[in-house]
């Protein structure tokens, strides 16, 4: 009577708030208790989801599962954006060749091997599933999940080289998997597959990925522009930095390009512009709010994955599930190791054998597999329910068993770990200097390598974009000079003393 909002108006947001409060409470309890030291948070959240799912399933007849739309429209974009924004720019581009090798060639090999193994077993076994269905299933099960990988690797602090390779692969292979998945889902409806269908699929992969990158870059320009123009109204800047990348994702998806590639590109490339255009306060706000948002979305994803175990439509097939789990884990080793030996031929800094073991072992599966398996068409893929169950088993296995044992394994194999220490100004100066020298050497010998293109891009930003478009990206060099100019002698002396530990 005394309020215009009745319970039925308030219930949806209140239920969402209650779930979020549960997640916060769970996180606090994990961190306060000693469990958090041994088991990654993602496994614990899945367990929480399992328990909650069990209770809800027994109390109410409620069929909760992670709806693919919810995941692909609202939960994935913030996670992908934060991943792109936090990706170490320099390391990513230095390793782009290896990452692409893993993400494209590696994923295709994974799919072929897994589908082969599954086909062999299913033909021996009572039921026979068409090869194209198994190929489709192998495709989605090969998607290494950036969310799962990030949540585990952030805790174990491996060296940056290993981190960037595993994480970069998991980001890019999603695009490969999603495109292949849709091509195959289309093929599964065709009676007779001709060679031009396969050509189409390859062509469409190239289009979808390139389209994503191009739309991403377009939105980088929009973001750079609008943050530059809104320097006097800082209050809208965090909104711009979150809204435009999300627009980019939606635009990509609505024109059937890869949204995940688009938003990662946008997040990665907009960073220097935000660094230049946002004040320190707004930069902190944007960065940490992105972190909070993506962390929350991750937690929701894992909780829902746990809840999904009690979904009504499961069909358990023990043999199929076991074979899939074993295939997923072992095939990755047989793919990563030969590919790395090829990559090492072209690398200056080689990837060690222990690092290869961790790359293979760190191929965790997560919500992307689950989202894709849910979107399968029941009328075309008759074994859909069994595939859902198997996917849940693979996710729970990789996140639980592999996720929990990777930390001891890293210690056992004595993998080089990284310490979180702020980069010293002298290191930064030397790095920039080395880059410039390398670019100079490349110019002298007339070879156009990575350094050459890096210089060209930075020159393009400075000379072309700046005067006409009023964009001013921060070059690290000029920032350092500014920093030094702002310092007085006393501060410089203190810094030097600290750096050289005199």
């Amino acid at each position: 009577m005394f309020s215009h909002l009745a319970w039925h108006d308030v219930d949806t947001p209140l239920i969402i708030c209650c779930w979020l409060t549960c997640i916060i409470l769970a996180k606090i309890i994990f961190h306060k208790s000693r469990i958090g030291h041994y088991i990654p948070e993602s496994s614990l959240l899945i367990t929480l989801g399992l328990i909650a799912g069990y209770i809800l399933d027994h109390l109410f007849v409620w069929d909760i599962y992670l709806h693919p739309d919810l995941f692909f429209l609202y939960l994935l974009p913030p996670i992908a954006l934060e991943a792109g924004y936090m990706l170490p720019f320099r390391m990513f581009f230095k390793n782009i060749g290896t990452i692409l090798l893993y993400a494209v060639v590696g994923t295709c090999l994974n799919i072929l091997f897994i589908s082969g193994i599954l086909y062999l077993f299913s033909s021996f076994y009572q039921q026979s599933i068409p090869y194209i269905d198994l190929l489709l299933f192998s495709t989605l099960i090969s998607a290494v999940d950036p969310v799962a990988v990030l949540s585990v690797f952030e805790e174990i602090h491996v060296n940056q080289l290993l981190y960037i390779n595993v994480f970069g692969e998991s980001l890019l292979n999603d695009a490969v998997v999603i495109v292949l998945y849709h091509s195959l889902a289309h093929m599964a409806t065709i009676e007779q597959i001709e060679s031009y269908h396969i050509n189409d699929a390859i062509l469409s992969f190239a289009t979808v990925a390139t389209g994503g990158v191009i739309i991403g870059l377009l939105f980088v320009i929009f973001t750079a522009f609008s943050t530059k123009l809104s320097v006097k109204i800082p209050v809208v800047q965090p909104l711009i930095s979150l809204l435009l990348p999300y627009c980019c994702y939606l635009t990509c998806e609505s024109v059937h390009m890869s949204g995940i590639i688009g938003i990662v590109t946008c997040g990665l490339m907009m960073k220097p512009y935000l660094d230049g255009n946002l004040s320190d306060k707004m930069k902190t706000t944007t960065k940490y709010f992105m972190k909070t948002l993506s962390n929350t979305c991750e937690a929701i994803v894992f909780l829902f994955l746990g809840l999904s175990v009690f979904s009504k439509s499961h069909i358990w097939d023990f043999v199929f599930a076991t074979v899939t789990v074993v295939a997923c884990v072992t095939v990755r080793f047989f793919v990563v190791i030969p590919l790395t030996s090829i990559a090492n031929r072209f690398r200056v800094k080689r990837i060690a054998l222990v690092d290869q073991a961790i790359i293979s072992y760190g191929g965790l599966r997560g919500a992307i597999c689950y989202g894709l398996v849910q979107t399968l068409d029941q009328d075309v893929i008759l074994a859909k329910d069994m595939m859902i169950t198997t996917t849940v088993v693979v996710i729970v296995f990789t996140v639980f068993i592999q996720g929990s044992t990777i930390k001891p394994l890293v210690r056992l194999l004595r993998v080089k770990t990284e310490e979180d220490k702020p980069q010293l100004i002298s290191t930064q100066v030397l790095n920039n200097f080395a880059d410039d020298v390398m670019a100079g050497i490349e110019a002298v010998i007339g070879r156009k390598g990575g350094n050459y293109y890096r210089r060209r891009l930075s020159a393009f930003n400075h000379n072309v974009l700046e005067p006409n478009l009023m964009l001013k990206p921060t070059s690290r060099g000029s920032r350092l000079v500014e920093k030094v100019c702002e310092m007085n002698n006393e501060e410089i002396r203190r810094n030097l003393l600290q750096e050289y530990q005199v």
Copy 2:
């Protein structure tokens, strides 16, 4: 074919994103052009809404208006939270008496006078509207809108005394209006009104307001607790600081207490705990994200108000609208001036006549009126459509004409304005010292005044909450001591030189 998300999945978020992008663009254009210097942003956004509404209305047959649920559930809470969080704590409690006088007594007088004037006119005029309907309408039209007030007063930088009185009133009178509105809406359905109905209304007002405060305080304890416990996982802290106050709002509304009082209390009182528990980075993130969010919600509200002008259900009644506008503007003067003279008798620092003029003139109406008028029951209040139109007229008039002329008026009347300057440490120390001395004097003479209760609250926080509940609010005094202890002699010398401008 190559994407799982089709256009019909993506369209809702994409349309929302497009509107937000339009708002950002509009803000940038306002600030870059010189219009922004003369007309407040709120008026400009209403104009933009008007233009967009006109175009959409002519292109499509689309009935867009600000749905009350959207406003009360999603747009109002962030604005109220930010308002509470940013409210100057000290000034607010120093002026609480005057603010309550304006908000409770003032609003009731406003309602009575406006309804009287409208009743007189409507009985002379062709149509006769029942007095209870007019009383209901007068109630909702008396709601001074914190959003409109804030958006205008933030730009003109009046002195803090004036600001806190206008803004504090607008925050609290909403609660009064909302409660009265619901009591009256209930009464309008009753044939014969007895005196106990009026007693009930008064009682329910007290319950609803107190209930809001109590629930707000409960959530302050939850927030203080959870931020204290999550010091090691800072990434969830901004989420806690936004989520729990929103939960507070929803809880209040679901148990029929005043959500707006609840969330303002929560925002206001949680601040010292967040100051103590959050790191500087997280504090910045929380504060500026709140600002961005509330700023965006405000912009959406004004844009929608403009769009609402072209809603299909309008019935224009020129005389009724004119009488209402004139009554709203003039009655406020006749209420504020006598009330201030009463308040001034009890005040040490009196409110000057020019300040009273600005308080009267600054009673802008906004979305709360609109939200309430939309929730009227068409079957009970036959003149609903005419009332909606009149409300839109009043809002547009007050925001446009009063909002744009208040800045020149402030200059004309030579109202004391405030400069934005950071408080010096010496001023803070002196203020704290003065507070302590005042509390001491009150203790000596045995009177329990505001200073006594402030000391008691702070002592309660320190002695009772801290050791048992592990909460540690920052008392400004102890923070200052910490600050000074962290400084070395050189820094102290530099600060002193700067403060005394030697």
